[in-house]
């Protein structure tokens, strides 16, 4: 395999890993807990930004050759910025969830989340001191690059390995959550909030938990992305990006971790990468616009024909079974929270 192809394939694999992690986080919020978080990309961006500033080191003043301003620069060793990114994603989710999830109907919630996303972009762009305005951050050092003396291609594959390891960790986390009694209770809240509340479940607390966990995972995915591409700008984290993840979750099969992984492979990676090989046509920006239209159409087509996705959520049955499927996740169990 030529070096160029190795570069391309390893890059696509890293993007795939980031998208898979992000989709698992969104699936935890949307597929499992039924939270419509249209600001998902903001948590990913916050994680990415955290990782970037914790790797960049303190901001240099302009006269010493510094060209970007940001808050809280530090140069932490490799895995720490990514962990910190998860922490920041989770904290931000706790703050946003504090006002958006508490008492809102899911459609209000979606609307507020959309507004959060739009506002976050406008603040990040206008408040130059915070995240260097519309220019964003650049030249984020790549993790371990100076320590390991690898060839560029070798480094690429090393990064693929890091991403894969992160995927395994996150999968372990989402698997534990979704297959435990906690996951069952979250699905109960999603399917019938009143009934879950009537059984004594703390509905708001459970939704908050899913929201914060999703925020942590989003932060981690953003951190990996930024460590790889070593640049960050507010313009690449706009709300339509969230919609791509939603489409991936729906196409793959919301509520099913494996299905969501397939969705991440099909939508952000295969669907958006494929256009790279098309000949350029029309004025600049036309292909992007058509791509967005196609993503929108894809979401509509799937919601109409296959609303449960390519690999639907497993129907769960229990030995002491309730008669109707609708009530399937509401059976109280001794191990349930």
């Amino acid at each position: 395999m030529s070096v160029a192809w190795q570069f391309y394939i390893s890059t696509v694999l890293i993007y795939l890993g980031v998208d898979v992690i992000a989709c698992w986080g969104l699936n935890l919020q949307f597929g499992v807990a039924g939270l419509v978080n249209f600001a998902y990309i903001v948590f990913q961006a916050a994680g990415a930004y955290t990782a970037a500033v914790l790797t960049l080191g303190p901001a240099k003043p302009a006269k010493l050759g510094g060209f970007q301003t940001y808050v809280g620069g530090a140069s932490w060793p490799f895995p720490l910025p990514i962990l910190a990114a998860g922490l920041v994603g989770g904290l931000l989710a706790a703050v946003v969830g504090g006002f958006a999830i508490r008492r809102l109907r899911s459609d209000y919630e979606a609307m507020v989340m959309l507004v959060v996303s739009l506002i976050a972009t406008s603040v990040a762009t206008n408040q130059v001191g915070l995240v260097n305005g519309p220019n964003g951050l650049a030249l984020v050092p790549k993790p371990l690059e100076t320590m390991l003396s690898l060839s560029p291609v070798g480094y690429q594959w090393m990064f693929v390995a890091i991403t894969a390891a992160a995927c395994v960790c996150v999968y372990w986390l989402v698997h534990i959550v979704t297959s435990s009694p906690l996951g069952r209770t979250l699905r109960a809240v999603r399917d019938n909030e009143q009934a879950a509340a009537a059984l004594g479940k703390n509905v708001t607390g459970l939704r908050m938990l899913a929201f914060v966990l999703g925020g942590v995972i989003a932060g981690v995915s953003g951190a990996i992305l930024v460590e790889f591409i070593s640049a960050w700008s507010p313009g690449s984290w706009l709300y339509p990006e969230t919609f791509v993840y939603f489409t991936a979750v729906i196409v793959g099969g919301s509520g099913n971790n494996f299905g969501v992984m397939v969705g991440a492979l099909l939508v952000p990676v295969a669907f958006l990468e494929a256009t790279r090989f098309l000949p350029q046509f029309g004025p600049p920006g036309l292909i992007d616009a058509l791509q967005w239209i196609l993503v929108g159409v894809l979401a509509l087509v799937f919601l109409w024909f296959w609303p449960r996705g390519v690999i639907p959520e497993r129907r769960r049955r229990f030995p002491s079974a309730a008669r109707s499927d609708q009530k399937r996740s509401l059976i109280p169990t001794r191990t349930g929270r």
Partner: protein, 295 residues
């Protein structure tokens, strides 16, 4: 003082645009229970229709009519062709939100594909300026205020004194019961989309009459204050939206004058958050509270 009085003037203009847009948004949501996140993009589309009309050398007032008509027709068709079929198909609340946002992306990028990523402005005669107290308005801005007042009066008359208004309020409160009472709810819903679409189209055109340039994202950016207005007034409450528009319009222009123009939307957002924390049902919404208790 020198900056505050003109800011209130701008605030009144912004409030007028917001009132038209907010009432349309909330009215449709109240009657049909579909949260149409493509609303801002339909506004942009109407603005582009107006742009085409004015570019053909036709007066901006006819462009306004064309924009409103486009909004009405597009909204009714959108509901008939996409939203209602999805609801009948069994798409639930989450699904419908995804559907409306998919439509929003399709419309916005459709406009981008057709018109390209440029700045556009409506062709109109240079407006003269008028001094009222310490405030300066252009003649166009005065017209916008007049249009908003006229629209609010018409909406008020429609809701209070016509059979259609009564039927709309009945459908908003309980569609099943309304149907059982012999109200043709399908027709009421069509009309609600038509009225909301008219307001949406009007709002889109007066929005771009008031700015120097617009792009394919102008309308979706404006969705922030619209949502704030609708939530502040209590969703589905046209009178609440009118009040919300005045509050948010003036507050955001004052903030623009005192702090920085970049923070207009942030103020709307802060008000939104405060309302959500303190009174999620909105400031003027006894009906919504009662509904909550009954459900």
């Amino acid at each position: 003082m020198n900056t505050l009085v003109p800011a209130i003037g701008f605030g009144i203009v912004t409030a007028s645009i917001l009132a038209v847009a907010g009432v349309g948004f909330t009215l449709q949501f109240g009657v049909t229970n579909i949260l149409n996140l493509a609303y801002g993009d339909i506004m942009t589309a109407a603005a582009f229709i107006a742009y085409l009309v004015t570019s053909a050398g036709i007066s901006v007032w006819l462009a306004l009519v064309a924009g409103a008509a486009f909004g009405a027709v597009f909204s009714v068709l959108l509901n008939r062709a996409i939203y209602t079929p999805f609801v009948r198909h069994g798409t639930r609340l989450f699904g419908m939100i995804i559907v409306t946002i998919a439509v929003s992306l399709i419309v916005q990028n459709g406009l981008l594909a057709i018109f390209g990523a440029n700045f556009f402005s409506l062709q109109m005669a240079r407006p003269s300026s008028v001094h009222v107290g310490g405030m300066v308005f252009t003649s166009v801005q005065l017209a916008i205020i007049a249009i908003a007042i006229a629209v609010m009066l018409l909406v008020h008359l429609l809701l209070r004194y016509t059979k259609l208004g009564k039927a709309m309020r009945a459908t908003a409160t309980d569609p099943e019961l309304a149907r059982n009472c012999g109200i043709a709810t399908d027709r009421v819903i069509d009309l609600a989309w038509a009225i909301s679409g008219t307001l949406c189209g009007l709002a889109g055109v007066i929005l771009v009459m008031n700015v120097t340039a617009f792009t394919d994202t102008t309308g979706s950016q404006f969705l922030i204050p619209i949502v704030a207005v609708a939530v502040l007034g209590g969703i589905g409450q046209p009178y609440g939206a009118m009040l919300g528009a005045v509050v948010i319009g003036i507050a955001s222009e004052l903030a623009a004058a005192v702090i920085s123009p970049d923070y207009k939307d942030v103020v709307a957002f802060v008000i939104l958050v405060i309302v959500l924390l303190a009174r999620p049902q909105g400031i003027l919404s006894e009906i919504a509270t009662r509904k909550e208790v009954a459900a």
